[in-house]
């Protein structure tokens, strides 16, 4: 909370400026979508109107505490509001007399509120002009005249303007002989309203828990902080029957108090951050993560901290090049920070529809933050198959994106993509965030789930198979790095590694390659090694014997040279296995490390011929 308050104070210069996405809204203002724009002159004479598309419609409007959180009551916004509030003649165009009466009451309230502002010391030429125009009570007539609304027989048709029903269409104004013309871009007007509102506010004064000073206390807090759970409030106190605050305290007011200004600032800062740099996990049930620096300095995107996806020209990176690239990318960010600058990471989610909760919160020093990201990037990495612009596969070193890890470990294949249930995605994403930012060791079950999937490749398409395999290898690498306290698994084939699983992994790759090498170009069936991979993992020794037998016809098809080459390779590996391991342990299920051996051996075998020969000598 305090950090958000500070964020607002530091970014106050951004408030109210029209920027991309959602602007940081001012105290007592909010951003709404306008559907109609009316131009008037400073005398309040109608000069034209047109409708607005959704992209044009973003408008900062002044609000009161009551109007900002209105749902069904009739609390008018002070300046720009929907037609039913703002148009004095709206009621005349309605056929339903009951609805007309309601609309009239709304207009009266709106007009009274506007008059109050015009007559206060904080009036403004634009307000006066709008007030003159409103008082003429001919807005609907004017709008029909300019073709924005449609009517027949003196009644409005049930149509929509910019896909909003007439009654709910929000109107904004442009005063054409002033500068700036747009009412929603005039900072002097914002100022006037904030001052007016501060003086006109009546309310209990008390000590604000955020600023520590006496202020007018707000009983209602804004909703709509993150788009994902729009109705949820971060601060709420409406449960007066159960014991959420009752007990020691009798009323919600006793339990805590937050000043109007403070709550406005906190919420607009949060809304602004969530819209600008929020990362959402899940598709329907969403959890939003935000990562920011309270002083408004640029921080990397949490989902893709290394800017990997911006890479327009994929090329092959070796491990060293990749390391250098990470360092470059991160130090670019880091240089903008001073040593003591903080980075805050926050996760927001709602367990029920009404209340928003902070599910992850961490404040880190900038340098710590980048060191941790770097550490994650350098230990959780593997070769991935990427495609160049002309769709040729290349191998590059990458750190899998967090969402991709979750999808590979827990997803199911739907169509071309791997998908996960939102609940799983949310929870697992959070666990990975812990690994990334709190340097927790990678949980074994995540790694294990990915390994299981990688060991059973048949249900997946080729692209997903490779993705899962590489992700699993990255996770194994990370897991072993955590366990071995900093010793990384080498990303080159290690001929001296006599681990049983590693060797069996290599053997599997050789068996696969041997069979595949006899395939013609069009052959798409799976080699026996692939089909039996799952069995191989559980009973490596006996499955190897089956595979060996099945391979005989393929050996027949090979040229004597390659037959010799593969047979030699197989017997080398088998020698190593039998030398270093007792017969009874040979048939035990393989550990996850076999995938590493498999991947590296396969990579080795797939290298162009000339390389291979050099290495053999």
């Amino acid at each position: 909370m305090r950090t958000l308050y500070q964020t607002y104070q530091e970014n106050i210069h951004m408030a109210g400026k029209p920027v991309e996405g959602v602007p940081l809204s001012l105290v007592a203002h909010m951003t709404a979508n306008a559907q109609i724009e009316i131009s008037i002159d400073s005398q309040g004479i109608f000069c034209g109107a047109h409708d607005l598309t959704k992209e044009q419609g973003k408008t900062i409007i002044p609000v009161t505490e009551a109007s900002a959180s209105r749902s069904s009551g009739d609390a008018p916004h002070p300046l720009c509001d929907t037609l039913s509030y703002i148009a004095g003649d709206f009621a005349q165009y309605l056929s339903d007399s009951k609805a007309a009466g309601k609309v009239e009451r709304k207009f009266e309230k709106y007009l009274a509120a506007l008059e109050g502002w015009v007559q206060s010391p904080y009036t403004h030429p634009k307000i006066q002009a709008i007030h003159r125009y409103i008082a003429q009570k001919q807005m609907v007539q004017d709008l029909i005249g300019s073709g924005v609304l449609e009517a027949a027989d003196g009644k409005l048709l049930e149509k929509k303007v910019s896909s909003t029903v007439y009654e709910k269409a929000l109107v904004r104004f442009r005063v054409i002989d002033s500068s700036p013309q747009a009412v929603w871009e005039d900072e002097t007007l914002f100022d006037c309203y904030i001052k007016y509102y501060a003086t006109s506010q009546e309310g209990r004064r008390d000590i604000c828990y955020l600023s520590g000073e006496e202020a007018v206390i707000s009983g209602i807090h804004p909703k709509g902080i993150v788009a994902a759970s729009y109705g949820a409030k971060l601060i709420s106190a409406n449960d007066s029957t159960n014991f959420t605050y009752r007990g020691r305290f009798e009323t919600a007011e006793q339990a805590s108090a937050i000043g109007y200004e403070a709550t406005q600032k906190v919420h607009s800062a949060l809304t602004w951050l969530a819209a600008r740099q929020g990362v959402v996990a899940g598709t329907k049930e969403k959890r939003t993560y935000i990562c920011w620096n309270p002083n408004g300095k640029k921080v990397p995107d949490l989902e893709d901290p290394f800017g990997l996806e911006d890479d327009s020209e994929p090329r092959s990176y070796t491990e060293e090049e990749y390391k250098q690239r990470l360092i470059d990318a991160l130090s670019g960010y880091q240089n903008t920070l001073e040593h003591n600058d903080e980075i805050v990471i926050m996760g927001l989610d709602a367990a029920t529809t009404g209340r928003l909760s902070i599910v992850y919160y961490n404040e880190l020093r900038g340098s710590d933050f980048y060191n941790r990201l770097m550490d994650w990037g350098l230990t959780c990495r593997w070769y991935f198959t990427a495609f160049t612009a002309d769709k040729k596969p290349t191998t590059t070193t990458l750190t899998p994106l967090t969402k991709q890890i979750v999808r590979c470990a827990f997803g199911t294949e739907r169509g071309r993509f791997l998908e996960t249930d939102d609940k799983v995605m949310k929870e697992q994403y959070q666990r990975l965030i812990y690994c990334m930012l709190d340097q927790k060791p990678l949980p074994r079950d995540i790694m294990h789930a990915a390994v299981l999937r990688a060991s059973n490749p048949l249900p997946y398409s080729w692209g997903n198979r490779e993705r899962i395999l590489s992700t699993a290898c990255a996770l194994i690498s990370k897991y072993h790095h955590d366990r071995a306290k900093g010793v990384s698994i080498s990303m080159n084939l290690d001929y001296g590694n006599n681990d049983r699983s590693y060797l069996f992994g290599r053997l599997l790759a050789v068996l696969e390659k041997a069979e595949r090498s006899t395939f013609s170009r069009e052959e798409t069936r799976e080699p026996n090694a692939m089909r039996l991979q799952n069995v191989f993992v559980n009973h490596p020794m006996s499955t190897w014997k089956i595979l060996q037998e099945k391979l005989n016809p393929y050996f027949e098809r090979m040229s004597p040279g390659s037959r010799y080459y593969y047979k030699e390779l197989v017997s080398d590996i088998i020698d190593l296995i039998t030398q270093h391991h007792s017969p009874e342990e040979l048939n035990r299920p393989l550990e996850e490390l076999y995938l590493i051996g498999y991947y590296l051996q396969r990579k080795e075998l797939n290298q162009p011929k000339n390389n291979k020969e050099e290495q053999e000598i």
Partner: protein, 238 residues
Amino acid sequence: MQHQNIVEFEVSGDYALFSDPITRVGGEKFTYQVPTYEAIKGVLHSIYWKPTLIWVIDAVRVMNQIQTETKGIRPIKYNGGNDLSYYTYLKDCKYQVKAHFIWNENRPELLHDRNENKHHNIAKRMIERGGRRDVFLGTRECQAYVEPCTFGEGESFYENTPQLNFGVMYHGITYADEAYSEETQGNMTVRLWRAVMEQGVLSFTPPEQCIHRPVREMQIKPFGEKLGNFSPIESEVV
């Protein structure tokens, strides 16, 4: 008071939840980064307390890195049914505490019990034995353990952090029976303070110097044989 009556101990637990009152009223508890004065006072009450004395917390030293963990909770409602919410806890907590006691002048009937040596020694013994009642950090589900220590010994994670500012924070509640001023007499008063941690040490503002927010009227709870909530020592003798 002739002596300083200082006690020092270390309290540690897997979790702690010092809820921020702002989010707490809605039911989604979210913890402060550091313990509140009142929570540590509660720990001391669990260790040893008599109405004769008031515990005053001098300082808390945060030993471990501040980390949080969120849990999905299904709280049972008072009127039946259940709710769903997320509680955010501090994880792997260890604090060194330095505190002393003063006499509670609001209880003149206990004047004869004001024996510094006795209370100080009992308190120290209770720390060695881990407290009289079970100790928890912030909320009841966060069990914690107490051990004697020398305040300042060992390395804190924040040893090299000159200053961490936590802004305005809840300090505690002054109840009528521990009132120290006219303002706090006959009232329940919430105290707020501006929390600053220097090299891992939170030096608490004494209660009298906090920002005061009177909440409601409240009277001292009377004790006595006639009220049926007090039994004299004679009745305990077998």
